[in-house]
Symmetry: C3
Subunit: 643 residues, 3 copies
């Protein structure tokens, strides 16, 4: 058990050295424990190949340490200097249109480029060797926001070569080519349009094809691309561990799903993520316009919590918010200021979900370059910005708050990156996404007042849960099917559960073919979003539905009496994308059957239990009456002893 802590992101290289001590003093005075530095500083550390300028960084760490601050040191590989590109002109990622993605911002590298991997290994080694035993360096961060700016998928020559090798390893052969190309042709169904290959070197990347490429081809490319990120990070992790015992972290970005965060997390000690509630609401949550208006200054009531729960799983219990929005950001379509109280609310919500630390991004607003409109705790003139005071209040409140305590929630929701890619490869209907489906289920659990664990599909302690939601898992290994059938929890499956085999083919017998569930999906259809279908007793289907052959108990049916959701034993299969009302009904039913208490929270109100406290959060700007507890003001947090 550790103390909950606050921190901040800081860029000593952006400011005159004379200012560092005063900055450190004010950080400490504010009650911060952690300062993340270094992750964009390659150019100042190694301005020319092999010519190192360590002095300033040594001194920056020393100044921070001298004020009692612990440093998270970032490897600077997200921003290779221009001279690295000069040495490796083909290291740039290439976009799906075939255009190299040029120098001039950040993340300008292809994960598959061997030369850039070597440069990265070299600079990480230098960092780790120099600071691996530095007493002020309390943790490491690898790179920065892998995948941000759509940087996982690269269509470069380096990626093509690596993809072929990756495929060879997936379809191994005793003899020819180092790979069994006939096995690949069979697995992908390449016979379909005379797409059979003779050799792995025939295989191109799946962009710019005349019409859609083979989904098996695309899914393989998605899995390959994810693996490249994992490998790249592992390279960094292995180097750092040679020189340092400090815990290793990476700061994941919200709703970046192009690589498998769990897999990458296996090489970390702490998962962290960057939480920008207002920017996200505008550019990636996928909320409707009405909610974008309503929560414009508060952020989505579930999106942050979802990620908190996700990264708790990714970090196997240990997780932080590495970048917390403290004011308006610069990069969303619209960049409003947080409503008063929200910076505090967001911070507490992270702690309520088990965060060990929350670090604000950034200490002082930079008056130059790309993020000059991104607020910090300080304004460019070093005066306190609006967020400063709320951070101070949290620091004060933390003093007598309980420590971080591990706790298992009663409900689990499976989130599977592979399913996300499979849906992306083949959404079947415009706008349908796995992430959206899972988030809809998460929202329903939250509206019911439930605390949730998000778990990976290979989680091995399913029996810990009384209710498990597993929507949309397009491919389900036999082990997972078996585990769900046997775990004893009330399990909600579908739509599209086990709809594809490992290579994106429809299995026969037809899906979901789950042990203990007599349901067969006989037909799938996608629907116009403006053509919902009514569910008997309340709620609607939107966007997607299946036709079910079954021999179970009908839980939901349409107006024609056709089954939509069917129970068989502890398993419920939902063959449609239900709206909020439908999901609320399903969740209530699961809870009742598993004896789990649930509520119907007021609109915009959420709660979360830790081991000792129940937290209430009001995402509305207006006060809400909590039955039996009085009024919860707008944008406010309420802490109670656990019920």
């Amino acid at each position: 058990m550790s103390k909950r802590e606050l921190g901040v992101c800081y860029y000593p290289e952006h400011w005159p050295e004379a200012q560092w001590a005063e900055d450190a003093r004010r950080m400490a005075e504010l009650g911060l424990a952690w300062v993340r530095i270094g992750e964009f500083a390659w150019g100042r550390v190694e301005p020319r190949p092999g010519q190192f300028n360590w002095g300033w960084l040594d001194r920056a760490i020393e100044v921070l340490g001298a004020h009692g601050l612990k440093v998270v040191l970032g490897t600077p590989t997200a921003t290779p200097p221009k001279w690295v590109l000069d040495r490796h002109p083909d290291m740039l990622a290439v976009d799906a249109q075939g255009r190299p993605r040029k120098f001039g911002s950040r993340r300008h590298y292809c994960f598959s480029h061997p030369g850039y991997r070597q440069e990265s290994a070299r600079i990480v080694t230098e960092f780790a060797r120099r600071y691996g035993r530095n007493l002020h360096v309390g943790a490491w961060q690898t790179d920065n926001e892998y995948g941000c700016h759509d940087t996982v998928l690269s269509y470069s020559d380096a990626a093509r070569t690596a993809f072929r090798d990756w495929l060879r390893a997936r379809f191994p052969a005793q003899d020819r080519n180092g790979g069994d190309i006939e096995a690949l042709n069979r697995a992908w169904g390449n016979v379909f349009w005379s797409m059979d290959y003779e050799d792995f070197d025939d295989i191109d990347l799946p962009n710019l094809t005349v019409t859609e490429p083979n989904p098996a081809h695309v899914l393989a490319f998605r899995r390959f691309s994810s693996d490249q990120v994992v490998q790249y990070n592992r390279m960094q992790a292995e180097i750092i561990r040679q020189y340092s015992d400090a815990p290793l972290s990476h700061n994941y970005m919200g709703r970046v799903t192009e690589f498998d965060h769990y897999k990458l997390g296996e090489d970390l000690d702490i998962a962290t993520w960057d939480s920008y509630p207002l920017g996200f609401l505008e550019d990636r949550v996928g909320a409707g316009v009405e909610d974008q208006r309503r929560f414009a200054r508060q952020g989505d009531p579930d999106f942050q919590a979802f990620h908190h729960d996700l990264y708790r799983a990714v970090g196997r219990g240990r997780w932080w918010v590495m970048e917390q929005q403290p004011g308006p950001v610069n990069w969303a379509p619209y960049n409003p200021a947080p409503a008063p109280g929200m910076v505090r609310l967001w911070t507490w919500e992270a702690f309520a979900h088990g965060a060990e630390a929350v670090c604000y991004f950034r200490w002082r607003q930079a008056p130059f370059a790309q993020e000059q409109m991104h607020a910090g705790l300080l304004r460019p003139d070093s005066a306190e910005a609006e967020g400063f005071d709320e951070a101070r209040q949290v620091a004060f409140e933390l003093a007598d708050a309980p420590d971080v305590q591990p706790v298992t929630a009663p409900v689990a929701l499976i989130f599977d990156y592979d399913a996300e890619w499979a849906w992306a490869v083949q959404p079947h209907g415009k706008g349908l996404s796995y992430f959206g489906l899972v988030l809809d289920h998460y929202r329903a659990l939250r509206r019911a007042g439930l605390s949730v664990d998000i778990i990976p599909p290979d989680h091995d302690a399913l029996a810990d849960y009384r209710v498990i939601l597993a929507p949309g898992l397009m491919h389900m290994p036999a082990r997972l099917k078996q585990a769900l059938a046997e775990c004893g929890a009330q399990v909600l499956l579908g739509p599209r559960s086990a709809a594809r085999d490992a290579h994106m083919n429809i299995p026969v017998p037809l899906p979901p073919a789950l042990p203990g569930l007599k349901v067969t999906v006989s037909r799938c259809e996608s629907l116009r979003p403006d053509l919902p279908e009514a569910i008997e007793g309340g709620g609607q289907i939107t966007g997607y539905r299946e036709h079910l052959e079954h021999d179970g108990q009908v839980v939901l049916q349409d107006a024609q009496g056709r089954a939509l959701a069917v129970r068989d034993g502890n398993l419920v299969y939902m063959g449609a994308w239900g709206d909020a009302r439908a999901l609320d009904r399903l969740v209530a039913d699961l809870c009742e059957r598993s004896g789990l208490a649930h509520m119907a929270l007021p609109d915009g109100v959420r709660c979360r239990d830790t081991a000792s406290e129940r937290f209430w959060f009001n995402y509305n700007t207006e006060a809400v009456d909590l039955p039996g507890m009085g009024e919860l003001p707008g944008c406010a947090v309420l802490r109670q002893p656990c019920p």
Copy 2:
């Protein structure tokens, strides 16, 4: 006269050979007569250059034939294997952005590439030589869906070279260059912006210009591109005819208008098309959102019929539906299931318009590759899918139905591919298209209960018709002008009739300059779609109008009393894009003057007369009362003796 028949598309190469006999048995049992095969099988027939695997195809044909099924054999040129590309790396089409359109799906070739033409000739020769006299091969299909996935227009080097040669032939000279470049400069008005060429080799393809290219340049490129498809198909046709007497077909795709289907049809014996009513409604009909909702499970009430009538003309009387949607497809933005009854309705509607055969696409849903979500008559597990039963019902009903009988409709509607291109080159107002205009006229005829012949602009028996609609023919050869004036039918012309000469210039005297029609278009304007103008007596102008100088009888006028439609003798010129009400008024007027009976059909109901029967189709899901005939259930067909 031939019997109406059913068929199916089948891919023996997709299934274990052990399954073929059982498949064939079930096809025969279902009442199918035709099985189309082979059109994507190049890779399995010739897995490596010159190395042929005929055995499986021999046996597949034999198995089908043994069950009494007739084979339509497709040439496999829509899916050249990877090794063909390796031999001709520049054979790919290039898109308007300059990007090669890569291997990995289908139709990855440029029609102008000489090397690919040779490869095509070679494989077609092999197919024709082997199966030209095979007793089970009852018909041939060339390639597959020319132009699908926007594959007519290619901006490749091969296309550029061929375009220059094509232009040389269009502007022949005795001496220099093999072409008269001054004649081209004059014809195109290249003086306009100093665009004169000195040589045909100066001429580039009309993409990526700074602002719009010369419309004469673009129109020439469109005509060239169409000719390339026609030539490519002729090459195949000539080869097959050397070896086979079986009729030749090609399966055109809905609303693919980038090449001249009539011209290509001259080299065929039977025109066929691929009818996907639900997919088309979502992605190409151009219906409003309200109709997209209303007919989401039934398809557009006129779009299929329009194509039926079009391909009857293309096939000079002989036409099929080669691919009939039997369930949800995979490729539209949304892919709902047909309403019960619609598979039967669509099939009967094709027969009502004179189809000799309707083949369902496909026999069994493929569990792999690009179309894994495309329903077949069978599910992937070989169980009957929903469409199977409706096909069975049609097969049963066909047994005692009359044979296909040629019949001439009382009304003709001219459809001209050249006009489609001219409008596309120069729509004048956003969203205006010739296809849209013609379809609007077709809808009006259908609402009036009329059976329609679609005819090409060079149809030589105009006197067969009592009413002829000829909207939007931007270029009208003198012969056509004369023929319309003299045919005796009531003729509706305009807007934009004869608005351009053969090279896309405005003629002087100003359009339409029709013999016998004292109308001159003095000004053209395009209008915001949200700024319709009222027509006196009912209806509106939308999108486009002309100002008319005339000396005739005003048929329609605006609120200011300015003429919109003018009659002079048997010719009516409509100088605007009228809405449904306006077109209904014009059609009613034409019918009354020609003594043709017309109705005002209930919304969503259509009818069509064959030589012996009148067919009624209800595209609504609810029943409709037909005056004097009782109730026609939703999604149902009614057959009556001809009135």
Copy 3:
């Protein structure tokens, strides 16, 4: 003082020589004084390199001159013939996606290409030498519509090289590289993401970066690109002045803001612009859909006037409309015909704002090439088109109208191209633009019945004005800040005034840091357009607001009592984007404090004072009652003696 005159654009090379005399006769008879020719005729003057065909142009000028017409002769550099491109294959501009912008229309050149500059100098010299002393050539025009079709920004190799040299000159050094790269790194804040350069040759153009490039980098590129246009034009101007004393003009295009029109104007004698009210309303005004419908046939009531006032400044008093829309155009999304009366109204409005001449585009509609649907005064068949008669009426009215007289308006509005680029580089919120902000302010002044001078930010006679509006000037040099504080006028500033230093960095002390104005912007936010905030007393904030620390008098505040606009002495700072009501309140307040009479004009009515007359314009199609003056018919002009 000069007589107001009419003219027309004419292309003798488009018509048979036999027709020229009759054309000239009709022009003179119509009352035209000027004929612009030549600007697209390079191909006919020099069909092959060095081989000149002057005869036809000599004779065309002679024929026009013989009918008493004065010629504006255009240099033909906007349309280099194909052979120029053959000599300089890399002269094409390259778009932001990296694609060369090909031959086949016009403006197919990169301003930075040295070879094309030489070709341009050569042909301009030839023109100037031959016609510099021709008595019929009364004025010159350089090139045509610089920047039209997005042609200022080019990402070519030539541009890259020139940009590096331009930067070297901006960051001069005594020794290395010819430039001080460290100074650039500091000025741009390149430390931010390790973007420091070692050499100017490291710097690439700011396109295709992974995420947004450094705003300092982009702004520098925008300034560079503008300078390239200015230099290119100066090259032409200097050549012509060697051979001719006739005044020099260029025809600017509406809302082309990618280069500094003032700077370029310094090398001209007369600024002219091309006014297409209906096309502009559809494609560039930025009006709402409701106004696009309402004014579809009249054009925006303020957009033309804004440009008239702008080009009066650009021409330092001398300006024309070089191309006046006389009927439907061809290039907008929708191309309606002007309402009767509007061609006259537009012409008179130009004169009311001080135009010396208004020339219609074009004499006769060309029946060929790109603009075949662009109306002229004559139809293609030489009959009079609708605009002809209105031009005749204006010619008649001009006979006894006063001459052009210089007059200073009581109100000035600063328009700054550099601010336009800075906003474009960093709008902060989607859809926010400087041009839009300034136009909103201009509209408010017009609704108040005020005549306006638009002035550049370095205008040196600010004391001439009683009210000055200076919204959105993101960078304000110290001289300008001082001048506004001391000029004595009532000055309206903000939002974003002085928000950036010369290199796009946020200055400290924080903005606006204006002498005499105790206001500090502590925070900026952008708002969803569907989330306006109410202003106490009326009006709303839309899109953007700042939080103000201040010590002045609150002029506007929000519902929470937070200051939105603050007065300190003669300066008012508005920290938000106000709607029409808000701006009307601010303008009224400024007028009252400066003792300037103002009105509240009826909707759609505008007025403008010259030295001797007050003009009233009714942009509505319906008549409007002017209090005390009776009824002003729709689409009409009223001239009164000055009040």
